[in-house]
Symmetry: C3
Subunit: 364 residues, 3 copies
């Protein structure tokens, strides 16, 4: 694909700066600042890459106002720049424009091999891929795309413009809002993990709720969102879930929260709006995480977090021997604390010892 | 769906208590105690929700004998109750009865789009969904349901009454017992991870075993159970695996054990009966966990656990700065222990110091 | 299946030792040393199983030269042995030979139910299973096998001899080398997790790169490898990924590295050659792990690791009460270190205290 800088600037609705005729420059790709060549458009958003700007061979760089002169001064004044308040956002929009140009649009229609129930309700322009299955009573609103091997269970509803990648599964009665993206292998609406324990084994609690998902939600590959036991599992507008995330039954995730890969969220946990949860973190069930809480990677959240803020819970790795030796001491920490207390008391008893409160206030 | 309390009590084989005509009350749903309305049946099992009982508007509450009067006294004596020794179990059975009434039963038959090998052996009443694939020599016993896009490999056997949700995969030679449920995306019988390392790279060890699964086993969405290297991977009767669990080759899981979401169990680990393993815990290979062992969420099991009991292994998260500072000290714990020892020795040398054994018995 | 020891030795190109007529012994299976019977061939590689050798009833044992006499002396001198420098490698090759004999070879041809684009390029001998989908411009080189429900997106390329298990998914533009194995449910080329945050929510960054995978790579069940944002995600020759692994966009994994189940590797991390990463470990984004680095199970890698070596980062579990008490002290470690410092200073001020540097050099 090839476009001129002028076309790009016009498509993004931004001003293009640089030498005369800059609008004619041909662009063949979007690339990182460092490896960009004269047919590449790049961007600079993270200040730590600023050192790469002056020497970048990129045909054009998207930068913030503070870097305008630096971007234009490149190549002896032959640099081009798009100056915007939020270069990263501008870059995001550029990728969207680019993708629309290089990728074939889904073709409306139902593939001959798809199995669509006679009473499913499909908008005129939906695209249903090969071997997809749409069950009775399901609704696909305008512009919906169901990829190859997609499955939409009975009475499920897929909102306008939502896209199911090949092999995405949405079970019966589940509801997706508009403009959602569900990646391959994701399973929405499998049974929650609920059993009554008895002496002769577990007795299944049928999961009578479903999953309700807002607008503009993206759900990663092989991610699972279980249906609720009695009420619905709820995913708010704008939520983004990465791959291999487990969302258990009756979880609620507030608007515009983002959850990284491999996270597990146990049953009935409530997560607020605008939260982020780092990769492989775990959230226990029946707790509440407030709005604007940021949980670091690998952390274990076992009780509610009510204050907005940044929380962490991982230990850096070390050479195996060192780590194991220190880890062994962790198993003795209570005893060590007692030994420190004993020492403090011994010293207090000595003539000339300092008096007053010590730090021993951390009752377990 | 709508049922009367009388129908429900009769179906569950329990006694219904309350004012006259209580059996006529129409029920439209099962719900939590707190949000239940006059057309809802609720239950109280966990004592911490007891405070919600008196004010619950539920048409009927399933309670234990101790709460009988409190349940009936609701609404000025118009409360209804089902009094049973195990309200949670009664609730579980109610959900099962309810689900059978609101969900269409699978229709026996083989969908025209399914690909079934001519020498597969299918009981007369099995249900095979659209685009399912049943390979040569596979056996589906009475009442088996294979959902859309299901895959049953050659010579695999699915026991009577077992259900494969859409897009469940059971590979060749694997055996499931009766009444199992396999959720979407689960993969039973992929190759175990086995290689002989050489200087020029890894050489694959073909996995010549299979997977054998008992009766009444439930396997969560996108969970993987690998086939054994030489012998079979074994899952006992009544085992329940949540979503996104990894069970490596040659693992054995004893009867009625339950494994929560995101757990990983490495090769050849043996887990006993009636164990529970919390979410995202990890179990190393070639170790043994005895019966009735309960492993908490996020714990790392790196050596055998022989005694029944409750085990834990997670660190609560903290504000990021605090956590990181304390985590940095963990890397110095050995040194800190030595410093404490040094202090103790110094004090012992002083006149008037206490004598006798100190606590320094934690040789690493 | 049944073979003679002579056939096996000939197939593996190794010498068979033992009593006369040993080549005639019939073998019906490969098994562990301990449970092997007179129709089983076993191997001994790990020295900790050596004690099982003398009493093993195996028809033949594959051993290293040092154990030659011990292997032959079994059963009063009737033991048979295959003596090789690397018994484990010999065993691996035996499993491969065995599997080829007991498993039906994939039949070349395209199943009638598969949907293959007219301009896809398929070598004459490929095997495409039922309900597979091969999109426009895709290339399947010689000997490729695509299992049931397999998906190969437009312009993707699958190298010679590679095998996609049932329900493996390779998205558009992605490239696999020769002799790769992709297990069921694996998703190669879903979108990386990239968004520009704005006040009104996240704006998607279209992922314009793809995934490029070398030769002899094995990818586990339900593992995900995301496509790159601008450039490609890269997996080197000989890499082995276990099940449920998350490889985020723009990750690079060097040749012959092996990654165990449940590991997560965040965006743009670079992992060197010949590394191993233990089960459920996590690797943060934008860091570098050098060659020959071995990361233990459950470790969290949050900064670059440049030196070859063995690294660890897990805490062994403990009885729940003990663990929780010690974990509580971890939250006080900074304070405890200060208390130890205070004690040391007090003692230094005392007459007769030792002088010189103390250990207090661990500035956080």
């Amino acid at each position: 694909m090839r476009a001129t800088l002028g076309e790009i600037a016009a498509a993004l609705g931004v001003e293009l700066l640089g030498p005369s005729n800059v609008a004619e420059r041909p662009i063949e790709g979007i690339g990182p600042l460092e490896s960009a060549d004269g047919a590449t458009i790049a961007f600079l958003s993270n200040p730590r890459y600023r050192a790469q700007l002056a020497s970048s061979a990129a045909a054009c760089v998207i930068v913030a106002p503070a870097l305008r002169e630096e971007a234009l001064a490149r190549a002896g004044g032959r640099g081009a720049a798009i100056v915007v308040d939020d270069p990263y956002l501008c870059f995001a929009r550029l990728t969207q424009w680019w993708a629309r140009r290089v990728r074939p649009a889904p073709v409306a229609g139902i593939h001959a091999s798809a199995v669509v129930a006679s009473d499913a309700v499909l908008a005129a322009d939906v695209s249903v891929g090969p071997h997809a299955v749409i069950e009775a009573g399901a609704v696909l609103e305008a512009g919906v795309v169901v990829g190859a091997h997609g499955f939409v269970g009975r009475n499920a509803r897929i909102g306008a413009g939502s896209q199911l990648a090949p092999r995405a599964t949405v079970h019966f009665d589940c509801v997706l809002g508009a403009r959602c993206i569900v990646h391959s292998g994701a399973v929405i609406g499998a049974d929650g993990f609920g059993f009554a324990p008895t002496k002769s084994g577990y007795v299944k609690i049928e999961q009578l709720g479903a999953v309700r998902i807002g607008d503009d939600v993206e759900i990663g590959a092989n991610t699972c969102i279980d249906r609720g036991a009695l009420e619905d599992t709820l995913i708010g507008n704008g939520v983004k879930l990465d791959n291999l995330v487990q969302v258990a039954h009756n979880v609620q995730i507030g608007e515009h929260s983002a959850v990284a890969g491999g996270v597990g969220i146990a049953g009935s946990a409530k997560i607020g709006a605008r939260c982020t949860i780092g990769g492989k973190a775990g959230v226990a069930g029946h707790l509440t995480i407030g709005d604007d809480v940021h949980i670091g990677a690998h952390a274990t959240v076992m009780s509610s977090v009510t204050e907005p803020g940044v929380y962490s819970g991982y230990f850096p790795l070390d050479e195996a021997k060192n780590f194991q030796r220190n880890a062994a001491v962790v198993r003795q920490l209570q005893k060590m604390r007692e030994r420190v207390r004993t020492l403090e008391k011994q010293l207090e008893r000595q003539p000339g010892a300092p008096t007053g409160p010590n730090n021993d206030n951390e009752a377990a």
